[in-house]
Amino acid sequence: MTTFDLNFAADHFTLFGLPRVQALDLESLDKSFRAIQSRVHPDKHAHASEADRRLAMQWATRINEAFQTLKSPGRRARYLLELLGHDPQIESNTAMPAEFLMGQMELREAVEEARSAADEDALDAVRRRLLDEIKADYERLAGLIDVARDLEAAGNLVRQLMFQEKLLNEIDDALEAVTA
């Protein structure tokens, strides 16, 4: 395991003293985050000079941003691929396997049906099913990046996952509309 080498411009993994992997140890991430934030957070410098307070805010902002990026598996994967020099062409490449698209369409129909019936339980069920799918795909993604080093395939999977997470957001919106 790497030891820490901190400076403001370090990459997110280095900042937290963690290896550059998709299968990140989230508990270690959490520990590092808290240890650094306990030093730099503006609350720890509330009584200091203005320069100190400004710096504290900049550092805390930097640490929060790094933490948010590494905590979310999707953002972590995109960041990691970028560090490894692979561009998954998120904006330009929309090609996806037909089988995947079929599955997504099926889920979307289920969401639409539940939404128009204002069926909270049905929406919850679709949400859980989708969450399971997403979880399995992230495990596969970690294997592609960390073990197989197949960045091309990883990039494709990242794009699919973004698609799934967008659907998850739509389900959340539907749940909000139904329960309001």
Partner: protein, 622 residues
């Protein structure tokens, strides 16, 4: 080189001595102030021993201002000039206020935040709130026997930027140094968590007089981490009163009411509601000014029936906050109840049913926010004792975004992001030779600008003329630890920085604040001058102490030359601060700050290094 310091009686001159810091719960219905005394957080009572200060302000024809119980007694006599629940107007436009037609006030038609016409002149909600805060400050200073170093002021977690800014402005107007704006449920979580050494996931359900918040927190080893927050900044006990009020009018078939009668019935409605929390029914008998009599009995069944939709309105944001946190009710270890309105059995039942567990009511729901805020104020003021340390990680409640083509919102910072946070977004010009651009900042969750709150609109000028799409304008949103937003923009191709200041559409401009302060100064005369001077001296002393303590800790980070420069700046400031030239003090403070800029940066890096360097993650104690 230390100057001889002469201490006032009862005040110590030693640095790092106990600083007077308080937590203020500026509530819709009642306000409270608390402080930490010998390690215990306590609410400061008024001279009659009463902990609450009704958040009511009464203006008199002679220019007098009364705040608290005295003002409360006037509300049905002079409703127009007696302002209750002013918190509901903070940072709000006319169209935002529910049931505005039933309110007895003369609203002035202005852009942005509403203003009220009173017998003492036109008042903004910020000025009215400042009166409450002044009373609170006086109570605290009398009780603690000295000037306050600073205060933590609580705000509903679901307050947007305009409402937060308005609260901070009110504090500024009341002469209070705001150490931090703290979210009410977070303050409650601190009080609860420290008291009970709680660990795990907790929800704080906070239903006050006018606002509803739900926050989901993870409490772990001295870290209070807000995972998600939700709520409704216009839902509270007042709305339950209003339902009862409407029921009375309907049942008694009353003719249109005078403002006095309306206020009287609203008070009776509230009393009846409060009585129902203890009893199965509440009689409502009133003789109105119109000569009509009201003689009704409100039962629990009727009350439950007429307020059912209000109770429901608390559950949707609660479920949403859990979803945002990625949790289900089974993950929640306890639900802490906060706010006087959670005393209603209807609320208790609904919460118990949703979370499948009895909510926690072991703290006084009316005091817990102020107590938690006091604890945080004590910590921020630097009074912490060894081992008495924790970290608060809060979030922004509503997404921040920009208007893009076609009235759509581009989200820049999503809700529930941990603060402080900064995000940048690049924009470009859409016409050849375009040199200016309008940027509209909005807050809210909807896709359309018209469904969100507009926080600010500003023009970015001086973009070098280029072909369409060539300019690259980088707009950066920064949200600080108070949850307040600032926006900067920069044209990247020319490297030209256009710093812009957000002009809050619903807040007060700096000029307006300056005018209000000037007004209050002209009344106070020399007092104000002395106060300002004293504030500058306190601030200067604080800066010197902070610098000296930094020099003690990490003198090795400075070269002899740098050290000499800082020492000289300290000496200069010490010399001018004994005089009465405020401008000279400000200048010397500025000079010292500049001299220590680089030093501060090195110290911060060193601090981060010390936190982690040479150790492996699994060895960290946190």
């Amino acid at each position: 080189m230390a100057l001889l310091q002469i201490a006032e009686p009862g005040e110590s001159a030693a640095p790092h001595e106990h600083r007077l810091a308080v937590g203020i719960d500026l509530g819709t219905t009642n306000s409270l102030v608390a402080t930490v005394r010998s390690g215990m957080s306590v609410v400061l009572n008024d001279v009659q021993g009463r902990p609450l200060l009704p958040s009511v302000v009464a203006y008199g024809a002679d220019g007098s201002v009364e705040v608290g119980y005295g003002a409360e007694a006037k509300q049905s006599i002079d409703p127009k000039n007696t302002i209750v629940s002013v918190k509901r107007f903070m940072g709000r436009g006319r169209h935002d206020i529910a049931h505005i037609e039933t309110l007895p006030y003369d609203f002035v038609d202005t852009e942005g935040m509403v203003k009220l016409k009173t017998i003492a002149g036109i008042k903004s909600p910020v000025e009215i709130s400042a009166e409450i805060l002044k009373t609170v400050r006086n109570r605290a200073e009398a009780s603690l026997g000295g000037e306050l170093t600073g205060a933590v002021i609580t705000v509903p977690a679901y307050f947007d930027d305009a409402q937060r800014q308005a609260t901070k402005d009110a504090a500024r107007l009341a002469g209070i140094n705001v150490l931090r704006l703290l979210n009410e449920p977070t303050a409650a979580a601190i009080a609860y968590g420290l008291d009970n050494s709680a660990e795990g996931i907790y929800a704080v359900f906070d239903l006050g007089g006018g606002t509803f918040d739900i926050s989901v927190l993870r409490l772990s080893k001295g870290v209070f981490e807000v995972m998600a927050t939700g709520g409704d900044s216009a839902l509270g006990g007042d709305d339950f009163d209003h339902r009862v009020f409407c029921w009375i009018i309907e049942q008694a078939k009353l003719a249109p009411l005078s403002p006095q009668d309306a206020r009287l019935l609203q008070m009776r409605a509230r009393e009846a509601k409060e009585q129902l929390s203890q009893h199965g029914q509440a009689p409502i008998t009133v003789k109105l000014g119109s000569g009509e009599y009201v003689d009704l009995t409100l039962t629990t069944e009727i009350f439950t029936d007429i307020t059912r939709t209000l109770v429901q309105k608390t559950l949707a944001p609660t479920k949403k906050a859990l979803r945002d946190a990625g949790l289900t009710v089974a993950d929640v270890r306890g639900v802490v109840m906060v706010g006087g309105s959670t005393r209603m059995p209807q609320i208790q039942h609904a919460v118990a049913e949703l979370f499948k567990q009895e909510p926690l009511n072991n703290l006084d729901p009316e005091k817990v926010v102020a107590l938690g805020a006091a604890t945080q104020a004590n910590l921020l003021a630097g009074n912490r004792a060894a081992g008495d340390d924790w970290l608060l990680l809060d979030v922004i409640p509503l997404s921040l975004g920009l208007e893009t083509m076609g009235g759509l919102v581009e989200k820049i910072i999503p809700r529930n992001s941990t603060i402080p946070i900064a995000r940048a977004q690049e924009f470009t010009t859409f016409k050849d030779g375009q040199t200016a651009m309008v940027i509209q900042v909005v807050q809210g969750e909807r896709e359309l600008v018209s469904d969100c709150r507009s926080l600010a609109r500003f023009e970015l000028r001086g973009i070098p003329p280029m072909v369409a799409g060539a300019a690259r304008i980088r707009v950066t949103f920064q949200v600080d630890a108070d949850g307040l937003l600032s926006v900067t923009a920069r044209e990247e191709t020319s490297g030209r920085e256009a710093r812009i200041e957000v002009k809050p559409a619903y807040g007060l401009s700096d000029d307006e604040i300056a005018d209000m302060l000037k007004d209050s100064f002209s009344h106070a005369g020399d007092d104000a001058f002395r106060r300002a001077l004293r504030e500058a001296q306190v601030e200067a002393q604080r800066l010197i102490e902070a610098t000296q303590s930094a020099l003690q800790d990490s003198a090795d980070l400075l070269s002899t030359l740098e050290r000499a420069h800082i020492d000289a700046s300290i000496t200069k400031l010490q010399t001018v601060m004994i005089g009465d030239d405020r401008r000279a003090i400000d200048q010397a403070m500025q000079a010292l700050s500049t001299a220590t800029n680089e030093f501060a940066a090195r110290r911060m890096n060193q601090s981060v290094q010390r936190a982690l360097a040479g150790r492996k993650v699994d060895q960290l104690s946190l």
